[in-house]
């Protein structure tokens, strides 16, 4: 089952993207590149205060400005953004959205963070729209605010919602999210030693390079929305629900988009604001967010506090793991606020309590592997320390304690040992790791770190349509958008392989809800597995028709579709990975430089080796940014966000970037399209933990706060 994969004809070969020429000639049309006749430009006015009640908004001067066509506020546009706040942070469930009590509107009163939308203007020119914003007078009653999750839970904390600052769960109950496996008390009783450590992690903005925008165009009671979306089908359904329409009255189009990294498999407030303005003005409206709008009005990885307690025997067997965590969700519950990582260990006694908390920071949301990198950083930091204190190699400690298949929970395949071993050999772990952390003489110290993971690669339902005409050209219709990983190319390659024809015989139609069937959306690393499986089955259906009737002739077209509901027969299906990194810390400056990085992944069969490799390389570098630089800092006195941009959040540049070595162990476990598993999110999960462990190995000092900025490193070493 897990033997080396059988070579295929198209899949597994380096293949240029089908739309590569458009991407390098400037011909690829992104949302903001579109123009419609009579199109207006829109801008959003945002709260300058972290928490305030709007007493009065005077829009008269803005409305009088010639060229201004509409000014809307919470008084005139009372639109619920259903996906903007969901009980329990549980997207994709209409029932939960329906019963969510703490509603988020496109304009809220009170405003609950700096950057909360207050009003929007549509005008004939973007400069006029900006000037109109400056003419809107808002009378605010300032309210006390709170920025830190634990402070927000204090009895005398300012209330962001009347029910309190503990976010409600899916049933609107305000209680921590608890998962309790085994017997945690018995686990600690069985331990020879108990270790405890607290970690905190920062807010990491998705920071996709394309600022959020949306172009809304009504024709009668039908809305066409051009928007950078990671899920055109979900976006369409969200828009219809929020605007009181039927799904078929909304068309969502996205052919190119400038990144996403999560958080866009729903509709966005920009979509609703553009649609509302377009309805008020009876004209197409292009809403453009500025970079600062995007930084504060969009969402990023939730900041966390993680308090771990771990019991272990003297022989190095983990007997109990407890996590008490807090996630800062901002003032609206958009997503779950999870902290993952405990489940990577075989230890049966695991207790996790996570309290998602409202704060007056910007809203937190999904960013590539939403619950993983910060959680894996925390748990694998304390495990690294425990191994060190027991005198064990962290790799040996991991191999002893990591989750493995059991009779109760079999896996479709299991490659973690193989990934770790390949990494140990490729990286030369024994030579690079300091047996005594911080033992380099001199101010510049080297050390090595390691981390490991498994991540969901489950199968699921999506849809595809394939047709063939008399020219023997095949057209695949899939409701995917290409966020950047190359989904159009991947879908075409899967179809070509299944059809047994060259990729050049296959066209892919995507990114348009009026032309394509439902797709799950480009989040959760699902596109290749789920929509890819639908492509495989649609091709099989088409081949049955061809077998029965021969190829079509004349004007005939054969059409086949599939909406499979595959299962893994009760087995867990995971992708696997192990990362090894060497760092050089300048203890005089507090700077950390990556000198070697080896990423080993088993993601099943690799469809396109080039784009797969670059998904991992890019994700690793984003993870390094999270480890070393990126944070959304707030001024505690004013509640103002301070690092709302690439420079201020210190995003990686070309000069910061090491070469990332990627190795795939290829496996076909018999599930998914030709055995493909998840890739997109998996690469980001391990970098923060691996870098933190390497910094500790280099300096002998455990950094308990992400990002490990220069000031924190110097402070820890002082």
């Amino acid at each position: 089952m897990s033997a080396a994969v059988q070579p295929l004809t198209t899949i597994g070969h380096v293949t240029p993207r089908v739309d590569a020429i458009a991407r390098v000639t400037g011909q690829a049309k992104y949302t903001n590149d579109l123009k419609l006749p009579g199109m207006l430009y829109a801008r959003v006015l945002r709260s300058p205060h972290p928490h305030a009640r709007i007493r009065r908004i005077d829009t008269s001067a803005a409305t009088r400005l010639p060229g201004v066509r509409a000014v809307i506020t919470h008084e005139t546009a009372h639109v619920v953004w259903g996906a903007g706040a969901v009980a329990g942070g549980r997207q994709y469930s209409d029932a939960i959205k329906e019963r969510t009590r703490q509603r988020r509107y496109i304009f809220n009163n009170p405003v609950r963070c700096v950057g909360d939308a207050v009003a929007a203007v549509a005008a004939t020119d973007r400069h006029l729209a900006e000037q109109a914003l400056a003419l809107i007078r808002v009378d605010y009653e300032l309210l006390p605010f709170v920025l830190e999750p634990e402070a927000a839970l204090a009895v005398d904390a300012p209330l962001i919602w009347p029910e309190g600052n503990l976010c409600p769960d899916v049933d609107n109950n305000c209680a921590p999210v608890v998962s309790d496996h085994g017997d945690i008390a018995a686990g600690f009783a069985a331990a020879d030693q108990v270790f405890a450590q607290r970690y905190d992690t920062g807010f990491v903005h998705n920071a996709q390079l394309e600022p959020r925008c949306a172009l809304a165009h009504w024709q009668g009671e039908t809305l066409t929305l051009y928007t950078p979306s990671q899920g055109i089908a979900n976006c369409r359904h969200d828009m219809a629900r929020d605007l009181g329409l039927e799904d078929h009255q909304v068309r969502v189009v996205c052919h190119y988009m400038g990144g996403g990294f999560g958080n866009k498999n729903q509709n966005q407030d920009a979509d609703l604001i553009a649609a509302t303005l377009a309805r008020h003005t009876n004209a197409p409206v292009m809403l453009e967010y500025t970079r600062r709008d995007d930084w504060l009005g969009m969402h990023g990885r939730w900041p966390t506090v993680q308090q771990y307690t771990v019991g272990v025997t003297n022989e190095g067997t983990v007997t109990a793991i407890q996590l008490i965590g807090y996630s800062g969700m901002g003032p609206y519950r958009k997503n779950a606020g999870g902290i993952s990582g405990l489940e990577l260990y075989a230890c049966p006694n695991r207790y996790r309590s996570i309290t998602p908390v409202y704060t007056n920071r910007t809203t937190s949301g999904n960013f590539r592997a939403p619950s993983e990198p910060h959680g894996v950083y925390g748990i694998q930091s304390i495990m690294d320390d425990i191994a060190s204190k027991l005198g064990m190699d962290p790799v040996a400690f991991t191999v002893k304690n990591m989750l493995r298949p059991t009779e109760e929970q079999p896996f479709t395949n299991y490659s973690l040992d193989a990934c770790i071993q390949l990494g140990v050999d490729t990286f030369d772990w024994q030579a690079r790791r300091k047996v005594i952390p911080g033992s380099d003489a001199g101010p510049i110290k080297r050390g090595a770190g390691f981390s490991f993971m498994m991540f969901r690669a489950g199968v699921g339902t999506s849809s595809a349509i394939v047709h063939v005409d008399a020219r023997q050209r095949y057209t695949v219709f899939v409701g995917v958008t290409d966020v950047g990983p190359g989904a159009k190319t991947t879908m075409g390659m899967i179809a070509a392989e299944a059809l047994g024809v060259p990729l050049s015989h296959v066209d892919v139609v995507s990114g348009d809800t009026d032309r394509c069937p439902y797709s799950v959306g480009e989040s959760g690393s699902r596109t290749t597995i789920m929509t890819g499986m639908a492509v495989v089955e649609a091709v099989q259906n088409l081949q049955h028709q061809i077998a029965a009737h021969g190829m079509p002739t004349g004007n005939d077209v054969f059409v086949a579709s599939a909406t499979p509901a595959p299962t893994t027969d009760g087995k867990a299906r995971q992708c696997f990975g192990a990362h090894f990194v060497e760092v050089e810390v300048d203890t005089r400056l507090g700077t950390t430089r990556i000198t070697k990085y080896v990423a080993i992944h088993e993601s099943g069969r690799i469809i396109n080796p080039q784009t797969a490799r670059d998904q991992i390389r890019g994700a690793v570098l984003q993870g390094i940014g999270q480890a070393l630089h990126e944070d959304l800092l707030y001024d505690p006195a004013s509640g103002q966000a301070l690092t709302t941009g690439y420079y201020r959040a210190r995003h990686l540049t070309h000069l910061d970037v090491p070469t990332i070595e990627v190795h795939f162990l290829e496996v076909d476990d018999g599930y998914g399209p030709f055995g493909a598993k998840t890739i997109g999110e998996s690469g980001i999960i391990l970098a923060p933990a691996a870098v933190a462990n390497a910094v500790c190995n280099a300096t002998g000092i455990r950094m308990t706060s992400l990002p490990m900025t220069r000031d924190k490193l110097l402070g820890a070493m002082a």
Binding site: G26, P66, H127, L135, E210, G259, G645, Y646, I660
Partner: protein, 204 residues
């Protein structure tokens, strides 16, 4: 004109032009001041200046509003939307174009400052339907992921290759430091630019 041995000289030029190029007629309305009517009038009928410039070999004479940036002129008025706006404030480099052969951030360069200039955008890289060696290398090496930073990366790299025909990886990184890629596909971009130098056989 340039020291061909020094790749670092191809970092982005400052966004401010020489004083003699600055428009004397640019007026910023004083919002909320006593002269609100005058400010409103300036909003409705902003100052305009006639400029001439060449874009991708095509000469234009156009009345530009003094407040337009070069990237607005290109995207909104010359329909060259290949150049992207990522930050609109000199941070990300998505808007990079060549102004008289030098990379500039078009989001932070007023259109009036481009009077008399020769501008090259991503749309001008392919000639007679033939991709430039750099464009071909970007395809071969998967340099675009989402593709939003790609036009800017291409333009800065074009300027580098025009003067350093076979840069090594370090020279490429130095030159492209002002072009961010949030997909973080930096490794592939550098590999592509280095390969383009090899494709060109060392000829600019």
């Amino acid at each position: 004109m340039h020291d061909t041995s020094d790749a670092s000289s191809f970092r982005h030029q400052g966004t401010h032009p020489p004083a003699d190029q600055r428009s004397p007629s640019a007026t910023v309305p004083a919002l909320g001041s006593a002269s609100a009517d005058a400010a409103t009038a300036a909003m409705i009928a902003p100052a305009r200046t006639a400029i001439r410039l060449t874009v991708n070999g095509v000469r234009h004479r156009i009345d530009v509003e003094d407040r337009w940036t070069l990237v607005e002129l290109l995207r909104d008025h010359l329909d060259l939307t290949g150049t992207k706006i990522g930050c609109d404030r000199s941070e990300c480099g998505a808007c990079t174009v060549l102004l008289n052969g030098q990379p500039v951030y078009a989001c932070s360069h007023l259109a009036v400052w481009a009077d008399g200039a020769d501008v090259q955008t991503v749309e001008g890289l392919a000639r007679d339907g033939q991709l430039s060696p750099l464009q071909q290398a970007f395809i071969d090496h998967n340099a675009p992921q989402c593709g939003f930073c790609t036009p800017g990366q291409l333009m800065t790299a074009t300027a580098l290759l025009n003067t350093v025909p076979r840069p090594d990886a370090e020279q490429v990184k130095q030159a492209l430091v002002g072009n961010l890629c949030r997909c973080s596909n930096y490794n592939a971009i550098v590999e592509a630019v280095v390969a383009a130098g090899a494709y060109q056989g060392g000829a600019a």
